[in-house]
Symmetry: C2
Subunit: 226 residues, 2 copies
């Protein structure tokens, strides 16, 4: 029997990464999930991540502790900056966490090399991406080029591929794709200020984008709100 | 008075990063040091780093905890793999820590964005580089290209510059440069298996490269050996 290829999935327990995991599984990968306790205010997403993984066929789930909050600079980690609840912000929103995707992908790259994984799946999304620079196609391409030169595996010609299957999908498309693959979104947590039970606020950027997407997808929103 | 530009220095407390710090200071930067407790066996390098910073004009020193040892795959972090003590290894040595420079630079990138730093100094070195893929010029260039696209600061046109002043220097040149800048190497720790007091083994790759370099530089080796 041909051995399955391994993939790491950056897994926050939200809508995008849960869909990403389902896509990686549907492609036949043996999946390893990687989550981060990085000082996010909405740490109940990690509880959601753990619950979701327990009910999956994921081989291993690592939760890496990394104190990005000590740097500050984002409303997601810095208590002195409120999470925005209106849609009026222009440019890159305060929920942007400096270099977060780069840090997460880099740590995934380290694990991928040890696991000899073939792919890293990241649920980045350029269409409804809230204005984050590290969710754009040109960023992902540049990360891939760097990764090819960064590692022993890359130098030896069997480096990891950064897979971003949601990159050009709208949130509506993502939900439709997930439903098609049997994803149960009811226990996923996308809210930037979810309470300790994972209940969503309904008013942050992430909630509003998600809520609208369920409406536009013609799917009953299974999110549990406060 | 013109405000000083800020720089982050990846600082392990070894010969290269201590020289790098001296170079950044000589260029007039206000310096911020970043060290990692990543599960390295030679954690006494962190004590050396702290002592060196205490006796410097560095504005702030952050030590980030990040458990790269949980991934394994390197003789520097994995107890089941011995640090090599001979010079016979071909290719990339077992002391290579998967994606370490990428992870460290990425976390520095996050801090740099919050600090609005102008530069990140990394003591990577392509000449005596022990065969690490992430110490090559093409790798550093690729990281820079990625960093320019990754961050809010990069998108806004004032992204950070990755400075690798040791990249093309031999270990002998590095020592000569450091001596010229007044660096006291006696308390720096380069050894991969230094004891708890920072005393060096004299036989690991890092010790042998350092020892030979002091000899060839015509400088008395100030390293304290076991």
């Amino acid at each position: 029997m041909k051995q399955k290829q391994k993939a790491i999935i950056l897994f926050s327990g939200g809508l995008d990464s849960t869909t990403c995991l389902a896509i990686a599984q549907s492609k036949g990968y043996e999946c390893y999930a990687l989550s981060f306790s990085y000082g996010q205010k909405h740490s109940s997403e990690l509880e959601a991540a753990k619950r979701l993984i327990e009910n999956s066929t994921v081989v291993q789930h690592k939760v890496i502790n990394l104190d990005l909050a000590s740097f500050g600079g984002s409303s997601l980690t810095d208590d002195s900056i409120a999470v925005p609840e209106d849609n009026n912000a222009e440019g890159i929103p305060s929920t942007y966490v400096p270099a977060r995707n780069t840090v997460f992908l880099s740590i995934a790259l380290a694990w991928a090399e040890v696991l000899q994984a073939k792919a890293i799946f990241a649920g980045v999304n350029a269409v409804d991406y809230s204005g984050y620079p590290d969710c754009r196609p040109e960023y992902v391409e540049a990360f891939q080029s760097m990764a090819d030169l960064a590692t022993k595996a890359g130098v030896e010609g069997h480096g990891v591929v950064i897979e971003t299957p949601l990159l050009h999908l709208t949130k509506v498309d993502i939900i439709k794709k997930g439903i098609e693959l049997g994803v149960d979104y009811s226990t996923t947590v996308s809210c930037y200020q979810a309470d300790s039970k994972g209940k969503a606020c309904a008013v942050c950027d992430s909630c509003r984008i998600r809520k609208t997407a369920f409406e536009n997808a013609g799917v009953v929103d299974p999110t549990i709100y406060k």
